[in-house]
Symmetry: C2
Subunit: 77 residues, 2 copies
Amino acid sequence: MKARVHVTLKPGVLDPQGRAVHHALDGLGFADAVADVRVGKLIELELADGTPAEAIDEMCRRLLANTVIENYRVELP
Amino acid sequence: MKARVHVTLKPGVLDPQGRAVHHALDGLGFADAVADVRVGKLIELELADGTPAEAIDEMCRRLLANTVIENYRVELP
């Protein structure tokens, strides 16, 4: 089975990478179109069938996301 | 409006970051559960209302994704 984990910075946490991307998009002529950019991570896990949701949640809390500054969301397709 | 861009490495492209995460999950006791890990990017764009899909696609091709080694997918919620 596959699981997709979306890791995003919490609102209010400074995102220098997103700012750099925003600046670059401005430079490419998209200044009017783009108001804000945030860059997060997308982690695709190939898991053994029947892996419980709690185990995936534990992976997120212990390794994949830094819950002090990041939110995570698990998507099971 | 918001748009979410998922950028993932193409199949076959080496993913050292994913490999490191996989190794770390093994070390945390998830060796039996995890078969593979791939790490991509999740870019959240806050756009002016009415930004055409073609413009978002152009942003992806010109800046957000390296189409030689990465695939991208735009999600408009």
